[in-house]
């Protein structure tokens, strides 16, 4: 008998701040992770769906560990995941990450400058490692 092991998923919830550079960095990082770096193990959930109370989004968040990426100290992504019954396994703030990568100064809103793109990539790389940790922890629990 062959066991089909479904890989555990981590939910990525970025800031929805439209018209804000740091919000754009958070979304760009989220796309990098969910589309390029860890597409198999992650799923993107739009913050707006949680704000609107969409059932499917709330259910996904409630049943998977979440990584939130906040663009400012209001931390809407983290708060909404918690309010939706989810578990925030890791939370990232773009400003904190920028302090570690001062050379990547983000600018632009609809389109990030090179610094912003690099900052988003650096953030995505950090989060990808966190996804690996979470999925291996989940796998260990599920496989006994």
């Amino acid at each position: 008998m062959t066991d089909i092991i479904q890989k555990p998923k981590v939910v990525i919830v970025p800031c929805s701040g439209i018209g804000k550079t740091y919000g754009t960095v958070s979304r760009e990082a989220a796309y990098n992770i969910t589309e390029d770096l860890r597409p198999e193990n992650t799923r993107l959930v739009a913050l707006s769906k949680l704000v609107l109370g969409e059932e499917e989004a709330r259910s996904v968040v409630a049943n998977h560990p979440a990584i939130t990426i906040d663009g400012c100290k209001l931390a809407c992504a983290t708060k909404m995941v918690q309010e939706s019954g989810g578990c925030v396994a890791r939370d990232y703030a773009v400003l904190d990450v920028y302090r570690r990568y001062k050379q990547f100064k983000p600018q632009g809103i609809a389109e990030l400058n090179e610094g912003g793109e690099k900052l988003a990539q650096a953030l995505a790389d950090e989060i990808a490692l966190a996804v690996d940790e979470l999925t291996s922890e989940q796998g260990e629990i599920e496989n006994g």
Binding site: C72, K73, L95, R99, K102
Partner: protein, 147 residues
């Protein structure tokens, strides 16, 4: 314990500590026995948003009134702020290197920037505003902006 004057514009409440003096630009100066402590006001930090970096002139720097003292990068802007007094920088708040967000968290306390020994002569203290004068100035400024 520090006491504050306050004014409110919309949902924002701005505090002005009563135990110090202020420059037009939004720097505060607290006079001590051996030196003055300098920082930025609650109004200035709230207007400019979360601080990412604060580069302060190092210990030993001689500054004249109006010389650049600190460059602050926030999520919104880069601002260069000039020294409200003349003298010698004798201490820089080490939190500016490691956790400049303290400026936002506690602008009149742990978020101080530098300590300066006044040089004597025209140190600039006479040009500074009282807390009430600074409050009136910033309230007027903020009211004009929301009109």
């Amino acid at each position: 314990m520090v006491e504050y004057l306050e004014f409110q514009i919309g949902k924002f409440i701005f505090k002005v500590a009563t135990d110090r003096l202020y420059s037009d630009e939004g720097m505060w100066v607290k006079i001590g026995k051996r030196h003055v402590e300098v920082g930025i006001t609650d109004y200035l930090q709230q207007r400019n948003g979360d601080v990412a970096f604060a580069e302060v002139k190092p210990t030993g720097t001689l500054v004249k009134l109006g010389d650049e003292l600190v460059v602050i990068e926030t999520i919104k802007v880069n601002i260069s702020l000039s020294s409200p007094v003349s003298g010698k920088v004798v201490e820089v708040n080490s939190s500016m290197e490691t956790s400049p967000e303290v400026i936002n968290q506690d602008p009149y306390g742990a978020g101080w920037l530098v300590k300066i020994d006044l040089g004597g002569g025209d140190d600039g203290l006479m040009n500074l505003l009282s807390p009430q004068e600074y409050l009136e100035k910033t309230r007027h400024e903020a009211e004009q902006e929301v009109k």
